[in-house]
């Protein structure tokens, strides 16, 4: 593996190496694509047991402030932040005036203000945009002293609870600070696999010791390869594929993430376009696609209707290990977006049959928590 000298490493890099990781460069970081067992085994292990993902490359942006900050952030995000409870998380977007997506993100209201988890490739740009929009009135920190570790799969709750007592009580899409060896970890119940799980923000110096504890309890390291097949089976979007600056949340079929309370009066960046699209519809929309047989249709595969007119393009396509077959997502013209619509995919110059299908491909196992 040849790695650029300027490639950044996460605090778990040595641990990855000791576990025979194969590395790739991702968003400027040297990240494990897989370990010795391979993508399919890692995928299946996560679905039935508990997988550990190093997602330290992602941005952890802390913005400090009180009610004034909430008012300012409501001018940016399509969320009802005034009524968001402390320690609750929401999925949202940073958009431009045309509702084009700069990034998709998870925002959590914490005691000190807000914690926003950003995509690795977008985080520096997001920071610039948010700084400008907030006018320098609030302290903002894009963390580089904290690692981010995700633990995903049905056994994750029992494993994490044995290391951090009390996490079993967290509801999905909530988080809290928990003490570990005299320092504070921020733990949320969330994830990107369609499974129950957690994301743990921890100081770099403690990350390896903490992660090794999870391994000792039976969890296994999982690479970015399986992270991609898991999220695609769960019908979740990946920035740079399903989402980019030329797509809006409505086109991406994510209007559920726009708070209803914000649709009547708008007042957030991109609100005019969003409200307009919700009322009058969009010309294209994101759908799930299932090729017939075993054929895999990758990103950029052209989609045709039966009379040979191009109607769209695939944005992600792979083999789904838990589905045991090929799966894809893409954008098609609205009139072809109904479930069971027959379409054709052009792969290596030939057209193959496929069907529009329901998302997710793999049914979720989210746990509501004990409460």
């Amino acid at each position: 593996m040849r790695v650029n000298m300027e490639t950044k490493k996460t605090s778990l890099n040595n641990l990855h190496q000791r576990n025979q990781a194969k590395f790739v460069e991702f968003a400027g970081y040297e990240m494990p694509i897989q370990y010795s067992k391979g993508i399919i085994e890692e995928h299946k292990f996560t679905r039935k047991h508990s997988g550990i993902f190093d997602v330290s490359h992602m941005g952890q942006l802390f913005i400090y402030g009180g009610e004034n900050l909430t008012i300012e952030l409501e001018k940016i995000f399509p969320l009802d932040l005034k009524n968001l409870k402390q320690n609750s998380s929401k999925y949202s977007f940073l958009m431009n005036e045309e509702a084009g997506i700069y990034d998709d993100l998870i925002i959590t209201k914490i005691e000190e203000g807000y914690l926003i988890i950003l995509n690795a490739a977008c985080k520096e740009n997001d920071f610039q945009i948010l700084s400008k929009l907030l006018g320098g009135n609030f302290k903002m920190t894009l963390e580089n002293e904290r690692a981010l570790v995700a633990l995903q799969g049905p056994r994750s709750v029992e494993i994490l609870n044995s290391v951090l007592n009390g996490v079993e009580k967290l509801n999905f899409m909530t988080g809290k600070w928990i003490d570990f060896k005299n320092q504070r970890l921020f733990v949320t119940r969330s994830g990107y696999t369609g499974e129950d799980g957690f994301e743990i923000s921890i100081l770099n110096n403690f990350a390896e010791e903490f992660t090794q504890k999870l391994i000792d309890k039976g969890a296994q390291l999982i690479g970015l390869g399986a992270r991609d097949t898991l999220r695609l089976e769960a019908g979740l979007c990946l920035y740079g594929h399903e989402l980019d600056i030329n797509k809006t949340p409505v086109e991406a079929n994510l209007k559920w993430a726009i708070s209803k309370e914000r649709l009547s009066n708008g007042g957030f960046v991109g609100s005019e376009k969003i409200i307009n699209q919700i009322q009058s519809g969009t010309s294209q929309i994101r759908v799930g696609i299932k090729p017939e047989g075993r054929l895999i249709a990758r990103e950029k595969t052209k989609i045709f209707e039966e009379t040979d007119k191009q109607i769209g393009e695939i944005t992600s396509g792979t083999f789904g290990p838990s589905i045991n077959g090929p799966i894809a997502m893409g954008y098609v013209d609205k009139e072809f977006s109904k479930i069971d619509t027959k379409i054709l995919l052009e792969v290596r110059g030939k057209k193959y049959p496929a069907n529009i299908c329901e998302l997710p491909f793999y049914k979720k196992n989210y746990v509501k928590g004990a409460n």
């Binding site: 897989q34 993508i39 390869g225 990758r298 792979t318």
Partner: protein, 126 residues
């Protein structure tokens, strides 16, 4: 004992009489990762040396399979189309891809023996 030769595109070829059996090497499967799709040439079709004669896809990417020699496709291995994971399990044995009736034996001369191939694959992956 039939002799096995290797191409720079990581195919192996084993000759019995004028019929060659062709597959991809263990080294190739290790680079590809888990193989989840295989497409083979049609029986009775003619393939040209270094031309495309199939496709394999792993969870990561699609790769063309080339034929190291020209000939007529006599047989294809349906078992690896039905269960592509067999290619990871036994790439240089039961998971062969296709059999050719060789057109020109001299095409074999430019191929590598095992020792040369192992040296080549080590150099090309470092």
């Amino acid at each position: 004992m039939s002799e096995v030769k290797f191409s720079k595109e990581h195919e192996w070829i084993s000759l019995e009489g004028d019929v060659a059996t062709i597959g991809i090497t263990k080294h190739a499967t290790e680079m590809l990762g888990d193989i989840v799709f295989a497409e083979l040439p049609e029986k009775g079709s003619n393939v040209e040396k270094d031309g495309t004669a199939g496709v394999v896809e792993s969870t990561k990417a699609a790769s063309d399979v080339y034929t190291p020699v020209s000939g007529e496709v006599m047989d294809t291995n349906q078992a690896i189309v039905d269960d592509p994971s067999k290619i990871n399990e036994d790439p240089e044995g039961s998971a062969w891809f296709f059999k050719l009736k060789i057109k020109d034996n001299s095409e074999l001369d430019s191929l590598m023996n095992r020792e040369e191939y192992e040296k080549f694959s080590k150099e090309s992956s470092s």
